[in-house]
Symmetry: C2
Subunit: 450 residues, 2 copies
């Protein structure tokens, strides 16, 4: 039932484009929804994309535009005149239109706005693009239905008939007082089942969640998730109703945040996806590789100071990778748990010390298990000195890595740095260096003592 | 505006519990919503939790129960009689009630069901618990409003008045034919603004997305996200309307999937959070640590075969950590991009070879940059032989790691194994071993040749 894009389908479509067979092409796209068509256009060359887009009817086209990848949309719009862009924006919800227009070069934003026919839409968009990215103001749409508390159900339904033209899906009717201040809401269900002459004030729900235009997107996402909301009203500094945020926009915020965290954890510093250009992909990855390389160089200097020892006991070198890898693995495990706890708000801000203790407890248990196993192995294969060195070092490294894996992200979070950054190459590199240092110090100690 | 839980607040609350001061406690909880109270109870001891829960009114209590952590809920319910549990379930939506009851031991499920007073609710729950976890059937709720196509708007509003009692929030009215088969929907907005004598068939929207009870949760999440849906109807094998899924349940699926992916990437094999018990946390992490340790042991055996060489050229050992770490870092970067592409469906199934080529391209660029830098460094610090060995090995390792980081998750995905599993310790360990092998082979080659 769901559309699945295959290369055969794409090839077939391309053939219609090449032969300029518009009828066949429209037939091929007939059954599809806007997000499906956007998925197809994302995979096409720019000239092919422009050809398909031109054929779409005026209801479908703006929705397709919205669902395109950012850079695809940018390149497509670059081929449009200001007037053509304005036509697309005229049929969009105000929040979507504002998103599109704010991606355009500033020089032509004003020109596009001046070409929008619906004056109210133009002024809504002009208001929305002023809010800072990452705030409730930038997420909200202006389309909503509101009624005054003193009105009756009948008058309210009349009002809805008038206002509803602008609103695609209506989840709730907001109730405001004489000064446009939000005082409550009314579910459509309540409206339908109430007596036509009942006054809104008598049947409205005064207790509702709302946010200010300056509330951050993350907080909006948190509130909507926690309280299972589908729509959330937004008020200005004076408490006046200015817009509403719907859950679909917030789902995007949630997914983007999760994606970003995974990328930071993997040492990718820019927001990229696998369809991006080669050079962008390379550039996004090189910074953390260089950090890793600096770590490796520091490691090499440390090992270098034990040159004489390695000459006499080359078996010391055997377990360098094991010590380094285990420090990295344990560090990543610990920090992932903490980063997740922070993201899901299951950690209280003042519980740092108890979390550290717990992670050290886990490190202790796993450290004991791993070092006993490696001690047995090294004793059988090599000798007791190496076995003692490796297992003691491994135990200390696991404890250290547990500590750092907990401490680093918690500290970064306190200083308002994204803790996911700490979970990837940073913790791994740090643990690599510390692990090797511990290993060689212990090795020298044991070999010189006995 | 949003409730923030602090240790001071908790201490204050605990004092009320200890002194059994119910009035003060209720005053402290008065302003809070169910999810906030659940957040508090999650942090309390079981006896404290039971004391608070008993004080809650019958509207709030079931909602609090739903929002609790799974193990907290399990322990709380264990102190209840079957009849008490049934009372809680009576006031829940059918899908939530089914979730709770399916967590109970099977032996008492039937007993609880028999105590539910509302027969329809009991039979709905009994139906829902039969669907497999991870399917649309297990996500859906039975509460929905449906009307026949031949009815008029007026009759339909009358019908909604009757049915609406069971439905908390109503997003849409579904339209079915005489055989209960889903034929379309009607937005409440349309219903309000249409003529009272219009027939539903004339104004309904026949074109709508729906899923079967057997559709997977992931597919449900994908469809709802892609098409920006707030509610999605579910039909049985015969196309008859049997339930509906709302976006808030899907938001949970999205978040849980993201969380799970992060945990798999970090080498944590079980679904844990930082509030779990020590032993559970340890057990979830030890498997991948053991895999990492086996990798380390293999690495030690490989280095062991080059013992003589290390004795003569101990400087070979210096760069072991660098080679291992860089292989790991590059591998994780590549696989993270692929795993994300797979999760977001931006990869076509048949594009494996082009993705491999692209990743190799990125590896090539970053490999060149890194190896030139390390070559310069090693030449200045050591000599040209070591510089050549390290830089050639590093370049090869980065290329290999790019290849494996792309190939492994794509292959795992093809065999229906969660590719995120490949992104963590598995790729790191594999690249560690391969990196060291390449490094020593090249080293021996160069040192014996020149």
């Amino acid at each position: 039932m769901q559309f699945e894009l295959t290369t055969e389908y794409l090839d077939d479509l391309r053939q219609s484009i090449e032969t300029k067979n518009a009828d066949r092409l429209l037939l091929q796209l007939q059954e599809l929804y806007a997000p499906d068509i956007a998925e197809i256009i994302n995979q096409l060359r720019d000239s092919e994309a422009a050809y398909i887009y031109e054929l779409l009817d005026e209801d479908t086209a703006p929705n397709v535009l919205l669902e395109l990848d950012d850079d695809k949309r940018e390149r497509l719009l670059a081929t449009f005149s200001s007037k053509q862009i304005a036509e697309q924006l005229d049929n969009m919800d105000s929040d979507d239109a504002a998103d599109v227009i704010s991606e355009l070069p500033e020089s032509i934003q004003e020109e596009v706005l001046s070409h929008i026919e619906d004056i109210e839409q133009a002024s809504d968009i002009a208001e929305l693009i002023n809010y800072d990215e990452g705030t409730a103001g930038s997420l909200m749409a202006k389309e909503l239905v509101s009624v005054y508390g003193f009105e009756t159900v009948n008058a309210c339904i009349e009002e809805i008939r008038k206002q509803a033209d602008n609103v695609d899906v209506m989840y709730a009717v907001y109730v405001v007082d004489n000064n446009e201040k939000l005082i409550g809401m009314l579910s459509l269900k309540k409206l339908i089942i109430s007596h036509p002459l009942a006054r809104i004030e008598e049947i409205h729900e005064p207790d509702l969640q709302f946010v200010k235009t300056s509330t951050t997107s993350e907080e909006v996402a948190e509130i909507m998730q926690k309280y299972d909301l589908v729509v959330l009203p937004v008020v200005d500094q004076l408490g006046r109703l200015v817009g509403r945020i719907t859950i679909d926009d917030v789902v995007d915020v949630i997914r983007e945040t999760a994606d970003e965290n995974i990328q930071r954890m993997s040492g990718i510093s820019d927001d990229v996806d696998s369809n991006d250009r080669l050079w962008r992909l390379s550039r996004a990855r090189i910074p953390w590789l260089l950090v890793g390389m600096c770590g490796g160089i520091v490691g090499s200097r440390i090992i270098g100071t034990y040159e004489e020892q390695i000459k006499i006991h080359p078996e010391m070198a055997y377990f360098i990778p094991l010590i380094g890898a285990m420090g990295g693995n344990v560090g990543v495990q610990s920090s992932a748990i903490i980063v997740q706890g922070l993201a899901n708000n299951t950690l209280l801000g003042d519980q740092i010390s108890s979390k550290l203790l717990k992670e050290l407890g886990v490190g202790f248990i796993n450290g004991i298990i791993c070092s006993l196993l490696i001690c047995g192995y090294a004793f059988v294969i090599e000798d007791w000195k190496l076995a003692t060195t490796v297992s003691l070092a491994l135990f200390t490294v696991i404890l250290c890595a547990s500590f750092l894996g907990t401490f680093v992200p918690l500290t970064m979070n306190r200083f308002k740095i994204n803790p996911a950054l700490a979970t990837g190459p940073f913790v791994t590199t740090l643990n690599d260096i510390i692990g090797i240092t511990i290993y060689f110090i212990m090795g020298r100690l044991l070999y010189t003592l006995f």
